[in-house]
Amino acid sequence: MYTAIPVLTLMGLALGYALGMAGRYLKVEEDPITGEIEALLPGTNCGQCGLPGCSAAAQALAQGQAPVTLCPPGGRELARQLAQKLDVQADLSALEADTGPVFAHIDPERCNGCTRCFKVCPTDAIVGANRQMHAVFPEACNGCGQCVAVCPLQGITLQPPAPSLQSWRWPLPETH
């Protein structure tokens, strides 16, 4: 038994060292821009761009195969940042309807606690339990809208955040 301990330890160390060296020699040079773009994207792999996950989207963006407006949760602001990063002219007309960030909101009148929405939430922004009413943390929600699609009672809507002291504005004058 006393030989077994050093032998296994040495074996683990040797293999780990070999793998570490192999990792250094076989390192794949990734395009640094891909990593930078991925850092900008939400990173929740919601799949609304039609690509399998945010890293695939970052690759497509870096190779110019996808428009900078591809990310619905990112909205106009992300498209602007991506266009700046990639130095391309962004065609923001498709995002004309985007008036700012939106967050999921659960209608307390309709929620029956079925837990379907928080199972699909990629950012764990929804809390709740079986037969308990669910609620959304706006700080964690990125407005991807997957919960809207699965709610059996149509009780989830995407709404702009409630006005705070910082974001409140006088309403525009209305003409009748």
Binding site: T3, A4, V7, L8, L15, L19, A22, G23, L26, V28
Partner: protein, 193 residues
């Protein structure tokens, strides 16, 4: 030479890892829904299995047997297999990005494929030499790939055929696997003498 060929055939057909020895059933049932992914899984496993049985032989004869540590066989083989799989993933990633993307999720799964450990252990038990270990591993892996491809093709046809509701999905898959296994038992009658 003919002896080597018989070893390959014997490992691939007569002692097929999946259908005769019932090793590696997880990828057999899990990754056999589509023909091309099954083939990719088979090829990745072939690579790892061949390397792992060679590495297992070296480990057994260079480290474990001289030090009288045969009781560490399972533990140390798992360690080596995990390292080999990790190394394989690095090499594939370096050599071919598309191949890495196809095999990507399957490669780490091979670590836990008991066929890899099983073949390495069996090879030691049967007291094969180094080349025979390599051949035994490669033959077993060929058998694994063959069975994966055959089963995936059968399941692709099952998916479009009318199966009674009670048997739809996994149950008919298990029945087909059983029938396939019975079929492979027929190879036991092959006379190599």
């Amino acid at each position: 030479m003919s002896e080597f060929l018989l070893l390959l055939l014997g490992a691939a057909l007569v002692n097929n890892v999946v259908l005769v020895q019932f090793l590696g059933l997880c990828p057999f049932m899990g990754v056999s829904n589509q023909l091309d992914t099954a083939l990719s899984m088979g090829l990745a496993t072939t690579f790892v299995l061949t390397l792992a049985s060679a590495a297992g032989w070296v480990l057994e004869h260079a480290v474990l047997a001289p030090l009288g540590l045969e009781f560490l066989r399972i533990l140390s083989f798992i360690l080596v297999i995990a390292a080999v799989v990790q190394f394989t993933e690095m090499v594939i990633r370096r050599l071919s990005t598309p191949l890495h993307r196809v095999l990507g999720i399957f490669l780490p799964l091979i670590t836990t494929n008991c066929a890899v450990l099983g073949v390495a252990l069996l090879s030691v038990q049967e007291r094969h030499g180094f080349l025979h270990s390599l051949g035994f591993g490669f033959g077993s892996a060929l058998g694994f790939t063959l069975v994966m491809v055959v089963f995936a093709a059968l399941r692709e046809r099952l998916a479009v055929s009318r199966v009674p509701a009670a048997f739809a999905g996994a149950p008919i898959g298990f029945i087909v696997a059983g029938l396939l296994s019975l079929g492979f038992l027929g190879f036991a009658g092959l006379d190599f003498a």
